[in-house]
Symmetry: C2
């Protein structure tokens, strides 16, 4: 069974997945890197950024599930680039020549363009599709493996509202952003469809997992 | 030093301290008792409700700090009764003849009335005061002990915004209420003034404590 999974999705204690205003210089707005420091500090984060060392405790154990068993990713248009990226034909994402996905990645956008093949087996595809259609497309590309739902918050909310998420790993970072894009809006009663577990870490973050019955 | 402390203050994962609509029959609106089941299940909760037994793990350890070293409480008008309670001269709170406070309790309200002496050393005082004034009054009544800030969320936000909170224990319950009264609104950057710790419990809740430097 190919699951639809959210991994390493960080939010502030008050529920924001990004601050504002997002731009080329500030991909997460006034949040800066604070939502992701926990991950960067792990050994997994070190490997991702070409740095030696890093923590190997609970944060690393969760962080490593990012690519375990994943055969494709779907991401929202706002994750792929700053506002207006679709007007720049040379834009190939934030992640340099060798992005950390190493699978097909389907970018949900109304502005289609030809696929972009990057180093390290990442290929960006640009599709205009509903959540269900996008998941079907990504599953075919994943070759029987799971599909990662990469965010941002708006895209994950859309997939949750459509009942398409099998597993979700949210990391609550103990900061209050006060403004930005909220993850939880409009999801009253979501917990009824999932087993929810919380695991706090010495780093200060809390890992919250939602697992659908049978998934 | 007499601290101003928030204890056992429960919110949903999406940040609501109560659901809606609040009434005599539904003090927490559509949230029902779900935000407080973790506390009721502890041995401390058992003692409070005259029931034997209960859990004695991390939830109980936190719950018991509710009255340790507390000499007075301040609560908002919306905690004391349902909307319109001030029009009923016979209303003496939700808690029966022997409320669980056992200290002076200062109810912040524009509708003053004479103090009400209850069993078990709880006396309700009704005052129309700013957060700083109310804290000064409660500290005098607390005889050198700490003052508990009892909620609801609006009242706690007012005290946080005024910089009057020394210690805050928030319990994040893994449910999504979707609507109600939010705790975190307008508190961007609050963590800068506090040490924040998170402790998850086997019950599924996460205890988050804010402690001010030096407090």
């Amino acid at each position: 069974m190919s699951l639809a999974r959210v991994q390493n999705f960080s939010i502030s204690l008050d529920g924001f997945a990004t601050g504002e205003v997002q731009s080329l210089e500030t991909p997460f707005g006034h949040a800066g890197e604070r939502l992701h420091e926990w991950m960067i500090a792990t050994r997994f984060g070190g490997e991702m950024f070409g740095r030696a060392g890093g923590s190997v405790g609970v944060d690393d154990a969760f962080a490593r599930q990012f690519d375990l068993g994943i055969g494709a990713e779907i991401m929202g248009a706002r994750k792929f680039g700053p506002p207006g990226w679709h007007e720049d034909p040379a834009w190939t994402g934030w992640w340099g020549d060798n992005p950390p996905f190493h699978t097909p990645v389907f970018v949900l956008t109304h502005h289609q363009r030809p696929p972009i093949e990057m180093e390290g087996d990442t290929t960006f595809h640009f599709i205009d599709a509903s959540p269900a259609e996008a998941l079907e497309t990504a599953r075919q590309a994943a070759g029987g493996q799971d599909v990662r739902l990469g965010g941002g918050a708006t895209m994950i909310r859309d997939f949750l509202a459509a009942g398409l998420v099998d597993h979700m790993h949210v990391v609550v970072v103990p900061i209050l952003l006060g403004r930005g894009v909220r993850l939880w809006d409009g999801l009253e009663g979501l917990e009824k469809d999932y087993e929810v577990e919380a695991t706090s870490s010495p780093s200060g973050v809390t890992h919250v997992t939602f697992t659908r019955a049978g998934a």
